[in-house]
Amino acid sequence: MSWLSRIANAFRPGSTAAGLDEELQFHLDQRIADLIRGGMLHREAELQARRQLGNRLSLRESSYEVKSAAWLDSLLRDFRFGLRMLAKYRIASLAAIASLALAIGACTAAFTLIDALVFRPLPVPASHQLITIVHVFPAFFSPDNQPRESDSFSYPLYGLLRDTAREDADLFAMSLHPGFQEALFDDAGGASENVRAESISGRGFEILGVKPARGRLIQPADDSLAGGHPVAVLSDAFWKRRFGASPAAIGRWVTIGRKQFQIVGIAAGPFSGVQPGYLTDLWLPLSAAADPRQLADPDGGCCNIWGRLRSGVEPSRIRAQLQAVLTNFRRERVRINPPRSLHGEQLRQFTDAPLGVRDASSGRDSLFRSQFRRPLQILALICALLLLVACSNVANLMIARASARAAEMALRISLGAARSRLIQQMLIESAQLAAAACGLGLLFAALAAPSIVAYLGTTEFPAWLDVALGSRTLLFALSLSLLTALLFGAVPALRASAVAPGAALKTGGSHGAGREGPLRWVLAAQVGFSVAVLFLSGLLLISFRRLIAVDLGFARDNVVLFDLRPRNPETHRHDSGAQLLAAIRHLPAVESASLSQQRPVGGAMVWIMTPIIRLPGRAAETVRPVEIPVSEGFFSAMGIRWIAGRDFVPEDIARNSTAVIVNQAFVDKFLRGQNPIGQTFDKLTDDPEPVPQQIIGVVANTRFNNLRELEGPSIYSPLRDVAGATLNIRTASRSASLIPWLRKEIETAAPALEVRGTILLADQIDNTLIGERLLALLAGFFSIVALLLAGVGLYGVVNYAVIRRTREIGIRIALGAPREEVVRSVVSGAAMPVIAGIVLGVAGGLGLARYLATQLFGVRPADLASIAAPVVCILIAAVAAVLPPAVRAASADPLVALRHE
């Protein structure tokens, strides 16, 4: 008999068993007939025949095992039985599946997001060979005095590095930036659109291993400095979105940055650039796209260097070679063109800065990635805790159910069922719960992950992550479900199968032997995990509330920001923007207008100047102040408080004017105890001579660049050129609806300028808080879920205890125990696990809180309020969950209670 027929027999056990019975019956009848023929009485013959054949049941069993795959049969039986049990305890099963599905779904969604952002390899062949080169800026370069890794190199330096590494790796250059560029396609009728364009050197696609879906990709011939063929390659996604996958896209022309490129091909399928979070729309040849002067600048930084190691080459080998090239190159550059702002040790730190070879298999550490890595990790932590809450909830349910089924288990054991069969039975029931939850959870994740991605983007920088359900996600969800099934199924299974049949049968169904021990432990764990979720979520919620209410030091309402660019950079003449400001200030509905070099609260997207200063009679300062060029009227327009001195006047715009305004932090840091007005200092730049500066005014500290901290020492200098600056206009009301009109007025008043970006200041501030807002939102949601689960779990356990003790309570009441006494005894049963859970949860939460440190603002984990809030919440939920069964127990009619069962 084949395996197939054995398996088939397992699915139709009835027919095989009947056949066996018939065969044995035939044997019996033949034997009886023979014995009677031999002279025996019929009754005697029958007895003798049966004795000789032996136990028919066990005979049938052992033949049956031969004839069918018994293990499969028992699995099937248990599977069917499990479904019946789930249906029997319908409400409890649904609650368990729903809570598990939510938790598995949340974990899967968090995993998908983190995987897509951080871990998933780029969709190119042998992505593990990809590397990227970085160098480290010494600490004194940055305002916060921290060394910073950078991946920009000059094009000449790239050439040297590429040639040096040739034996061990293929290097190529890309120009990666998160911003959009204006592109004019020749089929657009003159309307320009924003695209995310990247440039790549000629061999880039070949080295990456990206294939064309249509046409061809950029080739070495396109990337020759002698103005090679200006071509463009579209990403598959952009081709589908912009051109509806039409083959006619190839051959069209697009104008980007005053240069024309012809579309020659589409890059194949899933490859959409090397920056997770950003979708690249099109690629241009590096040398054709870049400004020739920028490209030739040996000290510039327009290239990102990528490459593929030859197989068997260790990154450390090429690192040493490339380090020598970098150091030699910089020493040579410093010798030819000595920087005036760097001397001695600082100069040495710059020339000998370390170079690193980083694994780039999962893409570039883009701004997007570094911005959201930590928030998503925190999200995953909270999801994992939520999963533990859900697991303990289901474990509770399973233990309670197992106790209720102690009699069933005892009966099966005394009928000869092996304990392993009972464990298998319980585990299968767990697996069924987990499988249902896994399916629903995947559905939840498939819906939730894309909406979170959409949430992470802004109109200016839409986010894109591939969070479609892939094999990695499925594998994660399946293993998570399997793990949870074992987690909440194993303990109840072992306990249930260890029943002593005699005792369990004697006490009868719902009165199973003392089984509250594990229930209490699981309950404590569940309360503990819930408290940890509430505690961490509370910290995030409080942080977010504090952050949105923080005093910025300037007014944020009804302000619109317009980024101004010269219409034609080549013919542009310096313009302080005084005329523009005057024209705008005269408009009705405009309360004030001013200019600043950077957008307020620009976050990491703005380039901040940090000059070195030297006060009279002192060495150059090691702390660099931030310099922000602004127009006159900026402080009053932005509502920044004056402390002393005066504002800029039109004469200060002149090149030889020395006037600057500083903030209070500058005074506190460099001019403590002196009258700051009239003080002078030198600004050291790369110009041969130091720039003398004189302080004419002092303003209060603000959070101009970063919501999270008051800025350090800052210098406000007169804004000398409106091109590249941001116009801040405050209107009387409802500024959003005025934007189109204001834009037109600006371009009428200053025809040489165009408005490139427009945003409400309030939105600009909101956009810097996306991670925080997302976390607060999800944390709030998960806290409610955790609280609900804790309540349901507690209710279930107390309710079960009350049902078990119905008789005992009835006797107590009959013997005259006061009702309050009964309530107290029920409540005290639940009190210990709840208190233990709270203590454990707070302790665990305090331990985990350090992972949140970077996200917290204005709140400390050890604050009384941070701890009290979750504890009060869980206590309220506990009371709400425990009181109904307690009151029910106390109001029981003793006669009914005694008759129970």
Binding site: E23, R31, S63, V66
Partner: protein
């Protein structure tokens, strides 16, 4: 009892031999034949059917439902070619073991 224990290990061999010599038989027929041939051996009926099913599982015998003269359904077993080969092997093994044991009993 001793005979019965000895028979346990040899039961498959006997079944195969009887089916080889006497042609297709049902379970009860096999029991009756063994008992009729050797008055010292008695088949443990409880182990006959599992043994038959194991032989069938191994593909050495083949079972078919047939109808007896008094119109009852009986399951009749028949030797397969593979079973015939197995029988030869088993017989050889049995003879050599019996010979070996006989030698020891003689010379010990």
């Amino acid at each position: 009892m001793a005979q019965q224990d000895a028979l346990q290990g040899a039961l498959p061999l006997l079944v195969l031999k009887i089916l080889d010599r006497r042609g297709p038989l049902h379970g009860y027929g096999i029991t009756a034949l063994i008992e009729a041939i050797s008055d010292q051996l008695r088949v443990e009926e409880g182990s006959l059917y599992p043994a038959l099913h194991r032989l069938e599982e191994s593909g050495w015998i083949h079972a078919q439902w047939t109808t007896t003269e008094n119109n009852r359904r009986a399951r009749v077993y028949k030797l397969t070619p593979a079973g015939r080969k197995q029988l030869a092997d088993e017989e050889r093994r049995w003879t050599s073991i019996a010979a070996a044991i006989g030698q020891v009993l003689e010379r010990a």
